[in-house]
Symmetry: C2
Subunit: 149 residues, 2 copies
């Protein structure tokens, strides 16, 4: 229970704050995702592998930007995936600042195997919403993030 004495009167509802709601939704999805994937892949790792699968090889920073991980964050993700033998990091001989990230055969095979699982996790998270509501939610989140303004 909660100590329900002595509240200041402010009528401030934390529960309707968008940040708090987003965090709860993220927590829920992260749990579902991790359970459904059964591979130990996190969302960040999956997004990285999936993007790499879709666009082919690219530089580490480009890869990070394409999945919204900054250069400090993508390093760790790539290191761990590399340690698992799912991708390789090679120096670009044309632009020697760049590291080219590529899927290994194992990485490619894993991605092909888990894409259906990721979709399944997506479905499970959205289970309580009907089709119209799902589209609306994605639409609204898209609108929040659109950088057109």
């Amino acid at each position: 229970m909660m100590n329900s004495s002595e509240q200041p009167e402010h009528h401030y509802d934390l529960d309707t704050q968008i940040g708090f709601r987003l965090r709860l939704a993220m927590q829920r999805h992260a749990e579902i995702f991790f359970n459904v994937m059964e591979t130990g892949l996190t969302q960040a790792q999956y997004a990285t592998l999936a993007r790499l699968y879709l666009v082919g090889s690219c530089s580490q920073n480009q890869l990070g930007r394409s999945v919204a991980l900054d250069s400090a964050s993508i390093v760790g993700v790539v290191n761990r995936l590399k340690a698992s033998g799912l991708l390789t990091r090679t120096r670009d001989e044309v632009d020697r600042r760049r590291m080219i990230i590529s899927l290994t055969d194992e990485g490619r095979a894993l991605v092909e195997r888990v894409i259906p699982l990721a979709k399944q996790a997506n479905e499970a998270t959205l289970a309580k919403l009907d089709t119209a509501e799902r589209m609306m939610l994605v639409h609204l989140l898209n609108k929040l993030t659109a950088d057109d303004s």
Copy 2:
């Protein structure tokens, strides 16, 4: 640019995955929140202080649960807020397992000062949505997270 050769054909759109969309929205809001707050308070810290302000003193675990921080996470948040002099941690003499967390006067003053700023951050994040859309978004996120099922 992106290396746009050699894509496998899978028609898989990462961008409509709910987890990815949620993460982008969180990133955006976190940035807005941190800038608007100007106090250096993070969302987790703010939520903790705000909840404490609303419910009065409570045990550390209860506090954590009420803002969706598990016992491992709330420790760090409370430690940092304690180090800033915004709250205190006292041993409960009735149940000696419990640590009672309470706002200091500084903590209370700070909360009162930043509640309007948090609302402002909320507004800024939702700026691109009209009233109906805002309500819809919160409603849909609520529905995702509801533990009634």
